[in-house]
Assembly symmetry: C2
Homo-oligomer: 420 residues x 2
């Protein structure tokens, strides 16, 4: 790669800032908006320490990692080691149960707003797959097609259901255990015991709480302020009689991006009122857009995302053309002053997907010193992502409709319901 090309590939922070729809000073993190603060016209990264403080969660520290390693006998997942899963609520309570061989389950979800999932969407599922693997526990995955329908006035209901089924195939391709995983679309599955818990929950949450938690206004539809009841329900085991019978005392751990925490803060309040166990949570940082760490990868901004359907050539092209670089403005300046890995998107992507701790440490060191060029860093990032996406596509090709139907059928997941 020539020096000229390197210069052209660099997207400056000012260009990057234009993808923010509003220039606000404060950072915004809620289920519908993720945007770092803007200081002096510059788009800043998300301040995760501030989120821990303002949301009232706990940081995942060395002690948690140690305990995970001791309990599971395996090195913690790369997303834990690199601090992508950085925050939690009562994770220790779930680890206690694992230690005591008491049942618990995992719950995560996805809002299926399009056919295409991208790299960022994979993060909670990759991590869930690891947790299911080490804990050998059941997992329920909610596809909130109803939420997408309520919040996106142009979507048709049938489209939302179709997105659910498409996205479920992507999720299955992450490698979940078919005997211990139940994936469901709300439009197809809400009813019975599930609906009972929805109504129980909706009786415990005032409009005022929903409004202040999510920022609704009176012209928002009644489905929006009520929706929290639907997302909360899978946190309680008696929502799934096929899996848990009538047991309401089996707690869950919810791996999710930090923007989903407001739903589960309300859910934890409700749990107390309904005498159900509170869900524990483990929170991920956002997967940054190609344009920089101030916002998250978005399926609706095509140039911001690497999709799981992208070809090897598209991946290479997107990284080379769009990925924001923390390198020097010219090759000479880069050699003289070095790069900034903390601002560099290819480096960040590597830190999510490159499992080798020694290599990532070496890359960081050399990039900071200016001995590794932006071009070579991008090259390594492209290799790693091409392999990840290629492997994913091979697994997905094996996900037939029959496999999909199996995952989406309510059924026993082999939980020992006599264990307390």
């Amino acid at each position: 790669m020539s020096a000229d090309q390197q210069v052209k590939d660099i997207v400056t922070p000012m260009e990057n800032a234009t993808i923010a729809t509003e220039q606000k000073a404060e950072q915004i993190v809620d289920p519908w908006n993720v945007q770092g603060a803007v200081v002096d016209g510059k788009q800043m990264s998300i301040d995760y320490d501030r989120l821990i403080e303002s949301f009232g969660t706990r940081a995942i520290d060395e002690a948690v990692l140690q305990r995970m390693e001791t309990l599971t006998g395996r090195k913690p997942h790369v997303l834990l080691r690199r601090g992508v899963f950085f925050s939690h609520r009562e994770l220790n309570r779930i680890l206690d149960r694992y230690e005591q061989k008491k049942p618990f389950y995992l719950y995560t979800g996805r809002g299926p707003s399009s056919d295409s999932m991208h790299l960022g969407h994979m993060i909670p599922f990759l991590f869930c797959q690891y947790l299911q693997d080490v804990f050998d526990c059941p997992l329920v995955i909610q596809l909130t097609d109803d939420e997408k329908f309520l919040f996106k006035p142009n979507l048709k209901l049938e489209e939302c259901i179709r997105f659910s089924r498409q996205n479920a195939k992507d999720i299955i391709a992450c490698g979940f255990n078919p005997e211990k995983t139940f994936i469901f679309s709300n439009f197809q599955h809400v009813g019975g015991a599930f609906y009972h818990n929805v109504v129980r929950i909706s009786r415990c949450i005032t409009y005022s709480q929903s409004k202040s938690t999510f920022g609704f206004v009176e012209s928002d539809n009644v489905g929006k302020s009520h929706f929290v009841s639907i997302q909360a329900a899978p946190s309680f085991s008696n929502t799934f009689p096929a899996i848990f019978g009538d047991r309401s005392d089996i707690p869950c751990l919810i791996p999710c991006a930090i923007d989903q925490d407001p739903y589960f803060r309300l859910t934890r309040d409700v749990a107390h009122k309904l005498k159900y166990p509170k869900p524990a949570l483990i929170h991920a940082k956002f997967f940054p857009a190609l344009q920089g760490p101030g916002t998250k990868m978005s399926a609706s901004v095509d140039s911001s995302a690497i999709f799981m359907t992208d070809t090897q050539a598209q991946i290479k092209n997107k990284i080379n053309r769009h990925a924001f670089s923390g390198g020097g403005a010219t090759m000479e300046l880069h050699k003289e002053h070095g790069g900034k890995p903390e601002e560099d998107i290819p480096f960040q992507y590597l830190s999510f997907f490159l499992d080798d701790d020694e290599e990532i440490a070496r890359i960081e060191k050399e990039y900071r010193a200016g001995t590794l060029s932006t071009g070579d860093l991008k090259k390594r990032c492209i290799e790693v992502l091409q392999k990840f996406v290629g492997d994913f596509q091979a697994r997905k090709a094996a996900v037939t409709d029959a496999v999909l139907d199996h995952f989406m059928t309510p059924r026993s997941l082999g939980v020992d319901l006599s264990a307390k």
Copy 2:
């Protein structure tokens, strides 16, 4: 009956007014409150003409009765002839379809808040049974056990479902056609196509609309402002695929008490947005409490109601002891000035249940003239109610769990789905 006893039996308007929980000047009619205006400390009857005006409905006039008689070849039901069903929205559109042999259906419902249904609860069902009989059409009956749970914080969910099944037996005992009637509890039936319409509807109604229609405040739970979506859904035929397949163009007629109209005003707005036919309505007056025509019979005020489980002796006792009389304060005054049938509860009850037009006209005339005593009027009322309740109890004894399960099973009701 002695003159003394007659005096004792009379409940004065002032005593009657004490059952009002608040002394307000304006009449209040919404799904949770029915209370006539209070003028100079006196509890007034509900002003139904004002309701027609403020709700924007149409009065049922002689022309409608004539058309019903011509179309069906039967004398209109006593509840139509006596003006109990007094108001409608687009009833003519349904009569047009009947004339053109195009399909339509009936939809009504009940909020099952206790084991015991009373005489007032029977009114919409008696009328529905007549409509089903003359039109030979399908009928769906929604038991809003979820609504009762949301609005009554002390009820348990399991109780609400139990009330649904108990009440369904009472409803069946009204004589519905088992091949054309589907009765469902929301807790048991919401899901699938029903849930799809619930979400479609909830996307069309803003919090602001729900709040202003029903008078909610921000400390009300999110289930309340959302509940209209659940009550609206059965107005649309594709909510019931077992009955109507995927047809969304079959309209319904909703017989209900006028206090339910706010739900269906919103529903009619939503129908327009969703390109579904608007439901037509036919509205009943309230069945007055024993204490007088200023409020409705209430299951939660035991002395206000004659329950369908009451014995013959209890009916006699309640009418004699509690029924507000429009007769003179003494037998002498009654003979001199006559009674006021329009204020007299036994007369009102007779007007709901005594089919014989000549007899009711004679009773009214003689009572107004003072030649028929309060005691004799009560005696006739007791006879008619004892027969009605006795016959009901005999029919209810035949409603086994197997019969109940049949009515509550989603199934085809024999609709010709090829008819447009």
